[in-house]
Amino acid sequence: MMKLRICFVLLVAFAVAAPVFAHHGRGRAYDMKSPVTLKGTVSLVKWQNPHVLIYMDVKDASGKLVTWGFENSNVHTLATQGYNRNTLKLGQEITAIVNPAVNGEPLGIIVKVILADGKEIMSRERGNPLD
């Protein structure tokens, strides 16, 4: 097992108003006004269309591990920005800011990912439109 020095931080970071239903339709409703910040390790990257899905293990307030999944743009849009299936690696520690599902499931849609060195990638505000 990998190191699990993980904490779960719920943070109302900033309000983002962005279209959720684009290329061919997002399915669920997300809270677009209250993003959450997740700190944890990457557990699965599904590099696929229609939308890339990223899963990460996050410790909740009680110390229990919760697997969060969040959806990203499509493969082509991400490739255009220079990302690929190896950009995020299993076990890598990341911080993800996501708009969470309104029904409380540990699911979200990406705002951005922050790497351990502070570099921001896949940012919706910077060239990662959710098509």
């Binding site: 239903f21 997002r26 669920r28 269309n49 499931e105």
Partner: protein
């Protein structure tokens, strides 16, 4: 040694580039080949013609997730562009389960399409769906009567035509009425007929005018806005050293393993739990 060739080589490159620029300014108006992306309204146009009661019923049965673009005319009280459902799982867009987009919906999609010109036909290879459309220009007419009936409807219909001056005119019949016209859920009947008129207007541009005639569902022809294809730059379709229409993609194929089991069942459906391992 490399230095000695730097100046003449640079000069030669400069000359070659200017020659190439000059050559590019000239273009063969009857050559449509290349990788293009379409710009224009995502439907045939923003103003569909009035519909028949049967057409209205079909329109209302289709529940898209895309609605009217803000700022566009409503065409009176036409409901077509203002009735999108809020989440995809409440809709019934056939494409959400990897059913074919069909014609003309796929042609109206802005993802790249490659035109491949062969003797007697034009092929359109679509990135989205990884799908091929054959536009015959070998002198044949589109099928009709018993032949058309025996052929039956097809997702992309049956297409034939030829050059009128420097405009390529193509006719399509026999489309499958289960596919929508567009992302907004406008219907078409199997009796619909389409005319596409392609005119190359520059080295890197083609204009398209599309007209649909479908008296079963529409009270008049639906004439498109001017659609513009612009050439996709080589660097925009080269990823990790690999050039081509399908570069940068897992594939354009809509695979139910990804789309249905891998996305609908995990994310798109609001009752799903999300996590797959």
């Amino acid at each position: 040694m490399g230095m000695r060739f730097t100046v003449p080589l640079a000069a030669a490159v400069a000359v070659a580039m200017s020659l190439s620029a000059a050559a590019q300014a000239q273009f063969d108006p009857r050559d449509l080949s290349g990788i293009w992306t379409i710009r224009g309204h995502r439907s045939i146009s923003a103003t569909p013609p009035p519909m028949t009661p049967e057409g209205e019923a079909r329109l209302n049965a289709n529940k898209p997730t895309r609605g009217r673009f803000l700022g566009e005319p409503l065409n009176g009280d036409h409901p077509g562009f203002v009735r999108a459902v809020p989440v995809a799982s409440m809709g019934n867009d056939p494409a959400h389960k990897c059913n074919p987009n069909g014609f003309p919906r796929l042609l109206l999609d802005p993802e790249p399409v490659e035109f491949i010109q062969l003797p007697g036909r034009l092929l359109q290879l679509f990135q989205w769906e990884h799908t091929l459309r054959e536009l015959w220009m070998d002198g044949r007419a589109v099928p009709s009567g018993e032949n058309l009936d025996n052929l039956g409807p097809a997702w992309y219909g049956h297409t034939a035509g030829g050059w009128e001056g420097n405009t390529l005119v193509m006719n399509t019949v026999g489309v499958d009425d289960r596919a929508w016209i567009d992302i907004f859920g406008f219907p078409k009947s199997t009796e619909a007929r389409f005319e596409e008129r392609y005119t190359r207007t520059g080295p890197d541009t083609i204009e398209l005018r599309l007209t649909m005639t479908d008296p079963k569902y529409y009270k008049g022809p639906w004439v498109s806005d001017v659609k513009r294809f612009t050439r996709v730059k080589k660097e925009d379709t080269t990823f990790y050293g690999w050039y081509g229409l399908f570069s940068g993609l897992t594939e354009g194929t809509c695979a139910p393993m990804n789309e249905v089991e891998g996305y609908n069942d995990t994310f798109r459906d609001p009752t799903s739990k999300g996590v797959v391992k």
